[in-house]
């Protein structure tokens, strides 16, 4: 169980990115965070694993206080929290294999990993992760030889190496073609069904309806909605996105 | 046929490959169709043997030996279609390279420690840059003395600036003791007493007649002391027996608030100004010279005809030769030809600039986009119009950018061209370093840093606007 309590983030330049956000995520949920660009979605996800330090409030995970964790404790916690990024964030000049193996860094000692010495079991695990996302044949390619969709799959494979209990996905499909969006989100859905909690920020409402078990909406750093996807009606939509907004669908592809 | 070969490139006898490589390194690899690898191995082995032979130390033959053995193994591998790791021979060559390098460059880190006192004598004065000096007010007076005594020695009293000085006796011979009395001086102030010969040489009167003699006045501004006539007082006299008037000077000085440029500070300013203008003149003339030459060195303009092509080849070769000779080398030759001074330096930097910019400019010309030229011709423009509207707009910004880049380099070069007599701050700097005047060195270091950093900044801003 992940508890977010009174989370506030003020950047040094005075921007208030999050204001007193509180909610709870039960294990096994596929929680989607929606909101306009700049509404604080990315900040919220990064405050959970403290890539960004929150200004106030706390984050509790299975009772452990993440916001108070020492650097060593934080690394222990981060090992179990996978993260998927909008820009994939793979190292383009490294091989796919190295990128995937880097997900294992929290488990191995500094010395052997710096020398590039990996155990056989880690290599097998990496190959399995690549097989799961369907690009095992690309293991020896350089990451920049891959398409955007394939790079995001490398990102997911990297996350799998962590044996995560929680996945934070920051706009995982915003840089991809609509058709590819579903293939990526389906991997996340599948992982969710295997028991991994997923926190995902998304842009398109049709994707939210399709994948979310619960939705939280942010507007200028404030939580303005929490509930089931079907509860977002036209009025709610206007409230979250503003009067000018028109609903756009990510894809017209019908899925079964 | 060809397709079958390329799909199975390893169809070569591994024994033959190994034997060939045993005879000549790289030959087996070439035989096994690893041509590039073979050439590199051959070249590497050749170089390694040559260097080991040149230095004659038997131990250094280990590196080419390792390479040789590995090369046989690699040739066999190449014939079987396998590429061997080149780690071991590379390591051997590196060890040999750095080992010999260490030897011939005489690396001796203990010298850094052993001569630490020299370093401190360099570094400590660096914190007292000799750029400004204090301003002083002086107060001085003198009285005459005749040496040796003549028949009618003049009165040895004199009043200057309200200061009364009296010497007794009023004449004397070398080493004789004299009494100096004075009044009207600044009270409680150290006063330097000096001997001036008839031709104006100033002789100190302190210990051993090497150091200055200072006597402090009393509270009323009076002074009463004895001196000895310096033994060298007559050494410049044409006839030591001829009585002549010498003088005893009393000099007091007091610091005044304020600073002025010290003597060396003046040289620093002069040198820096010369340095900047050296860079300006040689960059300008270099760029002007490089423009016509760059057209001759552009392949797309000169490639059409055998005659123009040969001009292209000659110009390119000359530019390349000149470019590899540092301006300092050109400068020492021109110092011999036109003499010491900034002119020799200006010629040297200009020549080097022509070579360096000529190459860069010609590459710009080779890289111009033919599209706009076509477009101007298509609308009926003549040759001049084409140059004006399609060529110049394409080449001016990169020309300007390269010229500014060269200007940055030339400013740095101008600071050292004086080391060989080419003018600028380097001329003074080198002499100060050799003399060990590190206070002056320090002020020139500061001046160089200020000028170079400032000019870098300015040219970076201008370049950002251009591009």
């Amino acid at each position: 169980m992940l508890q977010i309590e009174h989370l506030t983030k003020v950047y040094p330049n005075g921007t208030v990115a999050l204001k007193d956000v509180t909610f709870t995520v039960q294990d096994g949920e596929f929680l989607v965070i929606i909101g306009l660009s700049g509404s604080g979605k990315s900040t919220l996800l990064r405050c959970i694993n403290r890539l960004i330090e929150p200004t106030e409030g706390r984050v509790l995970w299975d009772g452990a206080n993440i916001t108070r964790a020492s650097p060593a404790e934080l690394r222990q916690l981060r090992r179990h929290v996978g993260m998927v990024f909008q820009q994939f964030n793979v190292v383009k000049r490294s091989s796919v294999m190295t990128n995937v193996l880097s997900g294992r860094l929290g488990y191995v000692n500094s010395f052997s990993s710096v020398l590039g010495l990996w155990s056989k079991s880690d290599r097998e695990r990496a190959l399995k992760a690549l097989e799961r996302v369907g690009i095992a044949d690309k293991a020896d390619n350089r990451a920049d030889a891959l398409s955007g969709g394939q790079q995001q799959r490398v990102g997911i494979a990297r996350t799998l190496m962590q044996e995560p209990k929680l996945i934070l996905a920051d706009e995982p499909v915003a840089s991809l073609d609509p058709v590819l969006s579903h293939s990526i989100l389906r991997y996340l859905e599948q992982l969710n069904k295997e028991g991994i909690t997923v926190l995902c920020s998304l842009h398109f409402l049709d994707l939210v309806h399709r994948y979310a078990t619960r939705v939280i909406a942010l507007k200028e750093g404030v939580k303005v909605f929490e509930g089931l996807p079907k509860e977002i009606d036209r009025a709610k939509f206007k409230e979250i996105y503003g009067e000018e907004a028109q609903e756009v669908r990510a894809t017209t592809v019908e899925e079964g | 046929m060809a397709a079958r070969l390329s799909s199975n490139p390893s169809k070569r006898s591994s024994i033959t490959a190994g034997l060939l490589s045993l005879i000549l390194p790289g030959l087996g690899q070439i035989y096994a169709r690893q041509r590039y690898r073979g050439v590199i191995v051959l070249f590497g082995a050749f170089l390694a043997v040559l260097i080991a032979f040149w230095y004659g130390v038997p131990a250094w033959y280990a590196a080419p030996a390792v390479l040789w053995l590995w090369n046989v193994w690699d040739a066999v591998g190449a014939a079987r279609g396998k590429l061997r790791s080149a780690f071991l021979p590379l390591l051997a060559l590196l060890v040999m390279g750095y080992g010999i390098g260490w030897q011939v460059t005489g690396i001796d880190f203990s010298a850094l420690i052993r001569n630490l006192d020299r370093a401190t004598s360099i570094v400590i004065p660096m914190f007292h840059p000799d750029f400004f000096s204090g301003v002083e007010t002086t107060n001085s007076a003198w009285a005459p003395v005749e040496v040796p005594c003549g028949p009618n020695p003049p009165e040895a009293v004199n009043t200057v600036n309200g200061i009364h000085v009296a010497i007794s006796p009023n004449c004397g011979k070398l080493n004789q003791e004299l009494t100096v009395q004075a009044s009207g001086l600044w009270p409680d102030t150290p006063t330097n007493i000096q001997w001036a010969t008839p031709i104006g040489d100033i002789l100190p009167l302190g210990k051993g007649f090497i150091t200055d003699l200072y006597v402090t006045t009393d509270a009323q501004g009076n002074l009463d002391t004895t001196i000895h006539i310096p033994p060298s007082a007559l050494s410049a006299a044409p006839d030591p027996t001829l009585p002549l008037e010498h003088r005893i000077y009393l000099v007091q000085s007091r610091p005044r608030p304020g600073f002025q440029l010290s003597e060396n500070g003046g040289y620093v300013v002069q040198g820096i100004i010369q340095t900047i203008f050296l860079a300006l003149i040689s960059t300008t003339f270099g760029a002007l010279g490089a423009i016509p030459i760059s057209f001759l060195a552009a392949r797309n303009l000169m490639g059409g005809h055998p005659l123009t092509l040969s001009i292209y080849v000659i110009v390119r070769t000359l530019l390349n030769i000149l470019r590899s000779i540092e301006p300092l080398i050109i400068a020492i030759i021109f110092v011999v030809i036109v003499g010491l001074g900034p002119f020799a330096g200006a010629i040297a930097i200009t020549l080097h600039t022509i070579a360096a910019l000529g190459k860069l400019y010609s590459e710009v010309i080779e890289g111009i986009d033919p599209g706009p030229l076509e477009a101007i011709r298509a609308v009926g423009g003549n040759w001049i119009q084409m140059v004006r509207y399609a060529v110049i707009p394409q080449i001016v910004p990169p020309f300007a950018s390269f010229t500014l880049f060269r200007w940055d380099i030339n400013v740095r070069t101008s600071t050292i061209i004086g080391f060989v007599g080419g003018g600028g701050i380097g001329f003074y700097l080198y002499q100060w370093i050799i003399k060990g005047d590190f206070e002056a060195v320090s002020s020139s270091f500061i001046a160089i840093a200020v000028i170079v950093v400032t000019l870098d900044f300015v040219s970076a801003r201008v370049r950002a606007r251009l591009v």
Binding site: F85, S102 | G97, V336, F445, V453
Partner: protein, 381 residues
Amino acid sequence: MDARRFNLRRWFVTGFLLLLVAAAYGIGYRETEINPVKLITSLGKSQAILNDLLHPDLFTHQTHDTTLDIVFPVPCGSAQPTQLPDNQAHIFANVACANPGDTVSVSGTGMQPDTDVKIQWLLPNGNALFSKLARTDAHGNFTAQVQVRPINTTTGGIPSHLQALTAVPFGGLLPSQALKDVINNIIVTVFIALLATTAGTIIAAPISFLAARNIMGHSRLGTSIYVIVRSILNITRSYDSLVLATVFALWVGFGAFAGVLALTVITMASLGKLFSEAVESIDPGPLEAVSATGARPIQVVVFSVVPQIIPDFISYIIYHWDINVRISTILGFVGGGGIGFYLSQRINVLEYQKAGTAIWAIVLVVWAMDFFSAEVRKRYT
């Protein structure tokens, strides 16, 4: 109306700027003491030097040396003159002896035809006094007029000798002493560049991280380290290697080691700045991703920073290697070792052919190294 006034102002500004530029060049012309007349008047001198430089001293022949010798008493009667030798080759004077100031005609027969003959006096003290050069004709004979000088006089009963020396080349070419010296020095030069580039790189790589804004962050400590390191790099970079070589030569003594130290410091500063710019231009995304997996800081650097910067680093190292090879050719001018010392010495004693050997060697090596690094760059970046 408006447009007119605008134009006037523009003209004024343009005129002022032009005046400023003209003044700058005027002062520059005077400051740099430009003197085209001198360039013309010294044309003969430069032609001679250029001619020597274009004919470098590369090879010598082995020579077969012969010396023909007769005793020649000065003044007459102070010693016994030589009896003419029996063998074929000999020299003789038109007189058997002479007094100081006299001119004597010296002839030689039976010598190597068409060969330079050096005529010299062997003085009583054993020193040789050069007199003049002659050349034998097709039959191996020569005649030359030489003057008798007062120092040729017999001293302590030992008379002066008159000698004719020939050196006939035979066999193949041998590398001259100049060529050997130049090769030795040029190898040292390349090694100075190699060691300095290596050491400079090793020091610059870690320092560059301290001079990279994105690594040092915006904390007060980080910013101050960044500013200090950057300033040190910028100030060091503004000095030419030669300036530092002079200082190091005083510190550790003249020689290649001083040059290596100076070049290392400059390489460190220059590469430190270039490296730090490469580090600053990396994509921060992978850093975030690797940190999020729970990796330690060192692992974050190795897995997300290093792969991004390696290609840039390599191309900067090659770029600086080229520069260092050039600079190491002149470090010797100020006592930093390498070919520069040899070159400046030869020019100081006016041995331009030997200087030419050194300059051609420099051109060759710089070319070869440029070619080599261009090949490496093509393949590895």
